[in-house]
């Protein structure tokens, strides 16, 4: 399954921040509201809200509605897409040879993703 380049851009970028990774870690234990997610951090709730928007645009999390709250849920499928991308190079490298790569990735030679 070929993941779109923009999707990878936004997902990797979203994970390139300790606050957002911490939010992911928290959500792996179950959904949480913005207030709950903001609590451990020194920064403002608005800042955390922005971080959640970044994660949402990257489709790493989704949100539902419940009264005034908007619980945030982890989307493990996106995380899998990232490991899938990484693994294709991590694993290919094991064999170290171009021929193996040709077998695994019968594609153009210019490093398309």
């Amino acid at each position: 399954m070929e993941t779109d380049a923009r999707a990878l851009d936004s997902a990797f970028m979203a994970l390139a921040d300790p606050v957002r990774r911490s939010i992911i870690a928290r959500l792996s234990r179950g959904p949480a509201t913005v207030n709950e997610l903001a609590e451990p951090f020194e920064i403002s709730k608005q800042a955390v809200s922005k971080h959640i928007q970044v994660l949402e645009q990257a489709e790493l999390v989704t949100r539902t509605r419940e009264a005034q709250r908007r619980p945030v849920h982890l989307n493990p499928a996106r995380l899998e897409a990232l490991t899938a991308w990484i693994d294709q190079y991590r694993l290919v490298r094991e064999g170290q040879f171009r021929s193996l790569d040709a077998v695994l990735r019968p594609r153009a030679a210019d490093g398309s993703e």
Copy 2:
């Protein structure tokens, strides 16, 4: 076992760019010089050189010296560190439905997986 936060910052950030991911893809087929890496792109060689510096600081690649050339090599160990980070949350999530979700949403129906 906990990878340093700064290392994750720089590594995920480095992968959040299509040019740099393409360079990783190319290097998975073996080392290459800056000129070779720059060739497929429209941007200047200096720009590619900067991209390589970003990858190098993230320790996703290393460089050796060979006459005037400075071949760039992939560092698969860093890629593994990233999948290791992702996997700890991707896998934990499998069994998670209770906790806050059950408390906050007695009539849950999200079907996001």
